[in-house]
Amino acid sequence: MDFDLDDLLNTEEQFASQGYKRAFEGPPEDSGLPKRQQLAQAEDELDDDELLALAFSQPWPPPASSAQPKSQSLPADDTVSKARVANATQGGSPGEGQLNLGPDIDPLGNVMDTAEPGSRPLATTDEVALCLQQLQIQYDPLAIDGPIIQTTAEDGTPAFCLIEEPAEAEPRLPAAKGQLLSRPISQLLAEAEQQSFEKALTESRAMYTQAAKHQQQQRFQQQQQPQHQHEQQTCQELWVDKYRPEGFLELLSNEQVNRNVLDWVKAWDSTVFGFGGAKPARGIGEKPAQTASIDMTVDQKLLLLSGPPGLGKTTLAHTIAKHCGYRAYEINASDDRTGRTLENKISDAVDTQSALGRRLPNLVIIDEVDGVAGGSEGRSAVSTILNLVQSGKDKRRADGDDDAKGAAKSRPRRKVKQLYRPIIAICNDLYATALRPLRIAARSVQLKKPLAARLMARLEGICVQEHIKADRQALLVLTERSDCDMRSCINTLQFLARQTNHIRVSHVRGVQIGQKDATQSAFKLWQRLLCTQGKDAAVVSGRLQDASLLMGVLQDFGDSDLLLAGLHEFMEGSAFTDIAMRRTAEMARHLQDADMFARASMRTGDYGLQKYVPASVLALTTMLAVPHRPRLQWPKVASDHRRQQAAHRELLHGWLLGLAPQVLTSLSIDSAAQEILPALLKQVEPNIRTIAKQLLNATELMLLRTIVSMMTAYRFSFHMGKYGNEGEPEELLEPAIHKLCSFQGLPGAKQLPLTVRQMINHEVQLESFKQQESVPSKSTLKSRPSSASGNHEEHQSQAAAVKLTYSVAERAVAAGITAKRTKRKTTWLDAFTQKKTATKLVKKAQDEAASGAAAQPPVLYKFHEGFTNAVKRPVLMSELM
C-alpha cells in the first residue's frame, strides 16, 4: 500500500485547521497509535506534532462505558459538560494549538483550575482516534475497502482514506481524579521514543496490510455473532435503522456540509454550557446569574437544513446533537404542529431538561418544516418559530437586564424571551414559499448528494455484514436509480436480500422499487433531456433502460406545456448539422404530435391520452440532445407571445366596442384585424402641409375632411405626445390600434408632424361634438310616432327643427365654449329638457309654418355670474320658456 508521510501530515493539519479543533476538543479515550508513532519516529524528530500524538497515544481515563467500543461515550452529567466547555475556553483562541492539548498549554494545570472534581473528559470519540491513527490517502475511493472518509489532499484534490479500527483495546487505567493524563508528560515522551524505536524498524508495510485485513474480518465476525443469535429479531429490523450512522465520521453526506452544521452547533456552546465560570443559560428567557458573560456568538439562531429526501438530514441532525452533548428533541410531522402547540412544545423543550438518565440540554429538531408550512396553520407555525428566533435579536439590541428579569417573571410577556438553545429545522424544499421568512432569518445549509462511490462502499459493507454477495454493477445501478438516496438504496437492498443471496444487475433491474418518484425541476429535466453525456449511468444501464427511466420522469413531470415550450425554444439554440433539413422537420413533427395529444386530452377530457405526450418528447429529444451540457434559459418567448396576443386582442375588442353599433354589426374581430384596420390606417396618412387650416388648398381640405370623418366614425384619434426615441412609433394612435398592423422589418405607419396631428385631432373633436349634439334631437324627432297627421307640412317642420338644432350646435362650436367638453354626462334631466326642446321646436316650427313668418336667428345667452358645479351649457331662451 502506498503511504506518503507528508501527505498524511498535511491531511492531518487540514483536519485540524478546518474546524476540528473545536469539534474534537474532547480527547480520545483509546490508546495506541502505533502506526502514527512509528511514522513520527521515523522522521527522527520530535516536534510539537509528535508531542501531540503522544498525548493521544496515552490511555485516557476511561469513559462511562468502556463496553461499547464503537459507540461514543457521552457526558454523564452537568459537571461534565461544564468541564468540557471550560476546555473550549482555554483552547478557544485559534493561535493556541490545534487541540486543547497542545504542548504550549499544560493540560493538567488548566484543567485542574476549572474543572470540578470528578469530571471526566467527554465527547471522546473513537473516530478521532481512528482518523488520526490511520490515514491512507487514496484518490480512488473504490480502491479502498472498508470505511472511508473524504478529505482533501495537499494539492486540493479530493482524496479518501481508510479508517481503521485500533488493533485492540488496551486495558484502561482507572480515571485519575482531575487529571487528563495519567502520567506526567516527560514520562510519556521517553516512553514514546523508545516505543517508536522498536516498532518502526520491525514492522513493514506488508505486515500492516495483512493485519488490517485480518482486523476487518475479525470485526465482521464479531458483529455476525449477535446477528446469528437474534436472527429472528434482525430480520424484523430495517437495515436503514440497523446501519444508521452512529458517529460523525460515519456520515456519508458531504463533509464540508457536516462541518458547517457542526460549527453552528458548537457556536452555541458558550451559551448553552456556560463560558469560563459563567453558569450556563437555561432555556428561554432566563438570564444566567452572571449576565455579563453571556455573549451570543450565534447570529442566526436557526439552522435550516435542506435537501432531497433520503440523504440523511435527520440523521445528520441527530448525530451532531449527540456528538455535541445535546439530547435531540424531535418534533416531526406526526405531531400536532399548529402555531400554539408548537410554541408550547419548543418552549417546553428548551426550558427543561430530562430528569431521567443523563441530564443533557435539549436541541430541538423540527423535522419536515415544509410539511408544517401549509395553510393558515402552517403560517402561524412558521411565524411562531420566527418569533422565537428573532425575539432574541431584538432583546440583544435592547440589552436590558431588568427587562429580562421582568420577562422571566411575568408570563404574558413571552415575546421578549430570548432563545438559548439551538433549533434545527429540516425541510426538503428550501424554496417553498411558506418558508421564505425562515429562510431569511436562518442559517441555511443545503445537503447535497453523497458521492456514488462512498455510498457504494457503504452498501458493500452492509452486504458483507449481511452475508450477501452483490455485484458491483448491481450496486452501481442501484445507486444510480435511487439518485443516491441512501434510504431507498438500503431498503431496496434489504428487499432484494430477502429473495436472493447473490444480487446481480438483473435483479436490480427487475425490481421496480428503488426508483424515486420525485419530481424534478423543469430546468433539471431539460438538462437531462438535452444532454446525452450520461455520466457512467447511461452506459451501465443501457440506452433502452435510460429511455424508459426518462419516460417515467417525464410522466411524473406535470407541466407538459412548459416542457414543450422549453424544448421548442431550445431547438433554436442547439447546433447540429442538418443539410437537407430532414432532422429539423422530423423534430418539428414530433413537437406537433406531442401538442396534438395534449390538445386531444384537453378537449375530450380524457386525460389518459396525456401519457402519450412523453413519447413524442422523448423522440424529439433523442434527436436534439447534444453531448455537451447545453446552456439553457427559461423559455419565455412563447409566453411573451401569448401575453402580447391577448393584449392585442383586448385592444382590438375594446376599440370595436367603442364603435357605432351600425358599424359594429358588420364587423368581426377577424375581419377587423385582417382587412378593415390595414385599410383604415392607410387612409389616415394624408399629405397635408404643416400650415394653418385656413391656408390649405382645396384638395388638402378635402383630404382633411375625409380623414376627420373617418376618425370620427371609427372612434380613434392621434396620440398627442411626442414620439418615442429613435423614431419608434411607440404611440401613434389612440387607442393604439396601429400596433396590430406593425411588423418588424416593414415600414410602419407614417408619422405626421405634431401640428398636423393637432389640427386633425381638433377637427375630430369638433366633429364628434357636432354628432353628439345632433344625434339625440334627431332620434327624438324620429321616434315620435307619426300618428296625428303624416302630412307634408309636418315633414317640413321636422326638417326645419333639425336644421335649427344643427345651427345651434355650430354656433356653440364657433363660440369655442364647447371645445373643452367632449363628453357630457347625460342625465334624466337632459333627456327631459331635450325632449322638451324638441317638442317645443317642432311646435314653434309648426307655428311658424302656420303663420308663415320667417325663422328668426336664435339668441344665445351665457352667464358668468357666481360659481356653480352644475353642468353649464348654452341654452336657448325659447327652451326655458
Binding site: 414543450l564 421548442h568 431547438m571 447540429f576 442538418d578 443539410i579 437537407a580 433539413m581 430532414r582 429539423t584 422537420a585 423534430m587 418539428a588 413533427r589 413537437l591 406537433q592 401538442d595 396534438m596 395534449a598 390538445r599 386531444a600 384537453m602 418567448v637 412563447a638 407571445h641 402580447q644 392585442h648 382590438l652 375588442h653 366596442l657 353599433p661 351600425q662 358599424v663 359594429l664 354589426t665 358588420s666 368581426s668 374581430i669 377577424d670 375581419s671 384585424a673 385582417q674 382587412e675 378593415i676 390595414p678 385599410a679 383604415l680 392607410k682 387612409q683 396618412e685 370623418s709 366614425a713 371609427y714 396590430l740 398592423c741 406593425s742 411588423f743 418588424q744 422589418g745 416593414l746
Partner: protein
C-alpha cells in the same frame, strides 16, 4: 366612413349582389314567420349584409336601434361558479352575439345564456312578430359540445325564438344543427361582379376608375368584396386620379407573409427556420389566424415554385392545416410546415441542380 360601410345596402330590396337570395328571403318572411337560417360562405361575400336586410324585413326600422352591451354572466355549474363576459348587440327584437369568443366555456354560454334568452318571449309591441331572433356569429368555431347543446334549444324554444347562424365553413357545423336550419349558401362574387361593384361605388363617390386597375383589384381581392372595396379606397388614398398601371396595395400582413415566403425559398437551414419562426410569432401576435397564414404562405410559395413541387406544397399545406386544427399551439404546426417544406425543397434542389 369607409366605403364598405358607407355603401352597404341595409334593405333586402337594395341589394346588388346576391339579389336572388334577397328576393327569396323577402318571400320567406312575407308570411310572417321564418325558419332557423344558417348562412354560410367565405368572408366578404355579404352574409352579414343579408342578415341586416333580413332583420329589417322582419321587424322594420326598430331593429336598427342597436345597443352594445358587455356584461358578465354568472353561470352556476354543479362544481363551480363560472363567470363569462359576453358582448351582445341587441335591439328590441333581436340579439346578436359571438359565443365562440369565450373559448372553452362556449358550451356553458350556449346552455345557459342562449337558452335563457330563447326562453323569454318578446313583449308583443303593437302586433309585431311573436318571436325574436338570435344571431350567432362564427358558429363553426363553436366546440362540438356547444353545437350539440344548441340542437335541443333550437327545437324546444322555436315558438319564441328563431336562430340565425352565420359561419364560414359549413362542414364544421354538425349535421343535426344543419338539418334544423334552412341553409343558405352565399356564393363568393365572381370577378365580374366585383368589378361591377367597384365601378358602382366609384361612380357614387364620383371617381373615375380605369378598367385596368379595376381588373387588377378584382383579381387581387380573392373574390372578397370587402377586400376589393377596401383596396379600392386604399388606392384612392395613395393616388388620385387613378392611373391604369397603379399598383394595388396589399395589406401589411400579406406583405409580411410574402417576405417569409422569400425567406424560405432563399435559404433552407435550421437557422433560417428560426428567423421564420420569429416572423410567424409576430403574425400570430397581430391576430392573424393561423389557418390564414398557412394558406397565404402556401399560395405565395406556389407562385415561385417549379411545377414539379407545386402540388406537393399544396398537399403539405393541407396536411399541416389538418394537424393545425387538431393541435393547440399554432406556432408548432406552422413551423413544422415550414421545416418540412424546406426539407422537401432542398431535396428537390439538390437532385435538380446537383
Amino acid at each position: 366612413m369607409l366605403w364598405v360601410d358607407k355603401y352597404r345596402p341595409r334593405r333586402l330590396q337594395t341589394l346588388i349582389l346576391n339579389k336572388h337570395i334577397g328576393e327569396h328571403l323577402t318571400q320567406l318572411v312575407a308570411t310572417g314567420d321564418c325558419p332557423h337560417i344558417l348562412f354560410y360562405g367565405s368572408p366578404g361575400v355579404g352574409k352579414k349584409t343579408l342578415v341586416i336586410g333580413l332583420l329589417h324585413q322582419i321587424y322594420g326600422d326598430g331593429v336598427e336601434k342597436i345597443r352594445v352591451e358587455t356584461k358578465p354572466w354568472k353561470i352556476q355549474l354543479p362544481s363551480r361558479n363560472l363567470e363569462v363576459e359576453l358582448t351582445t348587440l341587441s335591439s328590441n327584437y333581436h340579439v346578436e352575439m359571438n359565443p365562440s369568443d369565450v373559448g372553452n366555456n362556449d358550451r356553458h354560454v350556449v346552455q345557459e345564456i342562449i337558452k335563457d334568452m330563447a326562453k323569454s318571449r318578446p313583449l308583443d309591441i303593437q302586433g309585431q312578430r311573436s318571436f325574436k331572433v338570435l344571431v350567432l356569429n362564427e358558429v363553426d368555431r363553436l366546440s362540438k359540445d356547444a353545437q350539440h347543446s344548441l340542437r335541443r334549444t333550437m327545437e324546444k324554444y322555436s315558438s319564441a325564438c328563431r336562430l340565425i347562424l352565420i359561419c364560414n365553413n359549413v362542414s364544421k357545423v354538425i349535421d343535426p344543427v344543419r338539418s334544423r336550419c334552412l341553409c343558405i349558401r352565399v356564393a363568393a362574387p365572381s370577378q365580374k361582379d366585383i368589378m361591377q361593384m367597384c365601378q358602382h361605388v366609384a361612380g357614387k363617390e364620383g371617381l373615375k376608375l380605369p378598367e385596368g386597375l379595376n381588373t387588377r383589384i378584382a383579381a387581387a381581392s380573392d373574390r372578397n368584396l370587402r377586400r376589393a372595396l377596401l383596396m379600392l379606397e386604399t388606392c384612392q388614398a395613395a393616388k388620385y386620379p387613378f392611373s391604369d398601371d397603379q399598383p394595388v396595395q396589399l395589406t401589411d400582413w400579406e406583405l409580411y407573409i410574402q417576405e417569409i415566403a422569400s425567406d424560405i425559398l432563399g435559404e433552407q437551414s435550421p437557422k433560417r427556420l428560426f428567423v421564420v419562426r420569429g416572423k410567424l410569432y409576430e403574425l400570430l401576435t397581430n391576430c392573424i389566424p393561423p389557418e390564414l397564414i398557412l394558406r397565404r404562405l402556401m399560395l405565395e410559395l406556389v407562385k415561385k415554385l417549379d411545377d414539379e413541387l407545386k402540388h406537393q406544397a399544396a398537399q403539405l399545406a393541407a396536411f399541416y392545416e389538418h394537424r393545425l386544427q387538431e393541435g393547440q399551439k399554432h406556432i408548432f404546426h406552422l413551423e413544422a410546415f415550414v421545416a418540412k417544406f424546406m426539407s422537401e425543397y432542398k431535396n428537390w434542389a439538390l437532385s435538380a441542380f446537383g
